[in-house]
């Protein structure tokens, strides 16, 4: 057998050329961040799109408005991210056809996304997904997913390239982790933040991430979901 490369006893023939395989994944950088408030939710992301050290685009927004007061972003390998969002949108269209245009709840959207992601369990969508909306009581809702569909509802979550920089900041400033009341010595009570406070936190988080992460920058896109609907804001970030 001329093309045997290993015997049962672990003798490896190293002179055989190593097979080169096509790598179906890449990393397009960028980072995203979702925060839920009492009666609103925000989903933010930078608009830089990269391959290695190259900036492909300085303005390639990745927070998508899905209708039904839902927004979604899938950050990581952008081809998979785009494909995931598109298949969600198609499923949503069918849901509307079959249910007299009934509005899809964030909890249901989350379960659907779990199935879309888990459907690719053995060839995963290489993305960190976050959706934002308002729940049945009108309270802000953030759901975040791992690449194969594990998900959880949370108060806040950062995803993507600079998630490790932003997430501890959110623990500290949104959930008041490690903060104590000087008078009583008790842990600072959790309260809902106001929208303008949240927007300031989001902008601070992204300016900091831009400073220290090369794949983050150019422009900040924020989508805000309130009972009035979905609104969008843009802010410049450093372009270096």
């Amino acid at each position: 057998m001329s093309n045997t490369i290993a015997s049962e006893y672990g003798h490896t023939d190293t002179s055989v050329p190593i097979e080169h395989r096509f790598n179906p994944y890449s990393d397009n950088g960028g980072t995203i961040l979702g925060i839920a408030g009492e009666d609103f939710a925000v989903l933010a992301g930078d608009t830089r799109h990269t391959s290695g050290y190259s900036i492909n685009s300085r303005f390639q927004p990745k927070i998508m408005d899905l209708g039904d007061d839902l927004v979604m972003s899938a950050n990581g390998f952008s081809a998979d991210g785009d494909a995931l969002i598109r298949s969600f949108q198609q499923q949503l269209t069918w849901y509307h056809f079959n249910n007299q245009n009934k509005k899809l709840r964030p909890s249901s959207a989350a379960r659907l996304i779990q199935h879309l992601l888990y459907g690719h369990r053995f060839f995963p969508y290489y993305v960190h997904t976050i959706i934002a909306g308002l729940d049945e009581e009108g309270k802000g809702a953030i759901y975040s997913f791992d690449p194969v569909g594990s998900y959880e509802r949370e108060q806040c979550r950062a995803g993507g390239a600079a998630a490790s920089l932003i997430m501890p900041f959110l623990d500290n400033q949104v959930n008041f982790k490690n903060q104590y009341d000087p008078a009583t010595g008790q842990a600072r009570l959790k309260t809902y933040l106001k929208l303008d406070e949240v927007l300031n936190l989001v902008r601070d988080a992204f300016t900091s991430a831009t400073e220290r992460h090369i794949e983050v920058g150019d422009c900040l896109q924020i989508k805000i979901i309130t009972k009035e609907g979905v609104r969008e804001e843009f802010y410049p970030l450093k372009r270096d």
């Binding site: 490790s164 920089l165 501890p168 900041f169 623990d171 400073e211």
Partner: protein, 205 residues
């Protein structure tokens, strides 16, 4: 995870304030995911110059002793304590001597120059490249988290009390997001005539 610099875990940070500096480290020593000790301090002082060493625990201990030896010899020849800036260069050259078989550590130096009164912090890579920073330096397995925290909480010109609050909040929130760091923390706040060491109560998971 056979990367030597992340087997034992650990993190450190140093910050500059107004006429003061602060330096902090965690207390964990682990074997990969298993916690082994919660009293492993990573900050050492050679008189008024402070050194934090993160990375491979055996190298941390070895190097802290190497620098004890070297600073003692320095003191005998010069008849004075080593200054932070000088010590930084000592660290750099000592590490570069092992350029092709390095110690797996991430050192930070902090202190106030006793002659000029200028606060000083700096960081290094494992082969001695010096990072002179105006504001803060970070090191260890929670580097990403520390950069995120420091970049957003830090402001220049803080007094000793505010600097303590800032470095503590930054450090605690950072190590809570790192599985290999935590299990207690120590913060030194250094002014010209006083050094305050505080042990912080932290999560124990």
């Amino acid at each position: 995870m056979s990367d030597p610099s992340s087997i034992n875990g650990g993190a450190a940070v140093a910050m500059v304030g107004k006429d003061c500096v602060a330096i902090a480290c965690d207390l964990r020593l682990g074997n990969q995911s298993l916690g082994v000790a919660n009293n492993f301090e990573k900050i050492f002082n050679y008189d008024h110059t402070f050194l934090a060493l993160t990375g491979l625990a055996s190298d941390v201990t070895t190097l802290s002793e190497v620098f004890r030896l070297k600073t003692n010899l320095y003191k005998m020849r010069e008849e004075r304590s080593i200054e932070p800036e000088t010590f930084a260069n000592l660290v750099s050259s000592t590490l570069y001597q092992k350029r092709f078989g390095p110690y797996f550590i991430g050192p930070l130096v902090a202190g106030i120059n006793s002659l000029t009164g200028k606060p000083f912090v700096c960081g290094f890579d494992l082969i001695g490249c010096i990072d002179y920073a105006k504001d803060f330096v970070v090191s260890g397995t929670a580097t990403d988290q520390l950069y995120g925290m420091c970049e957003s909480l830090y402001e220049p010109g803080l007094g000793p009390d505010d600097l303590f609050e800032t470095i503590s909040q930054a450090f605690l929130s950072a190590v809570d997001r790192d599985a290999l760091s935590g299990w207690g923390a120590v913060v030194y706040v250094i002014t010209k005539d006083k050094v305050t060491k505080r042990l912080l109560k932290t999560r124990q998971d």
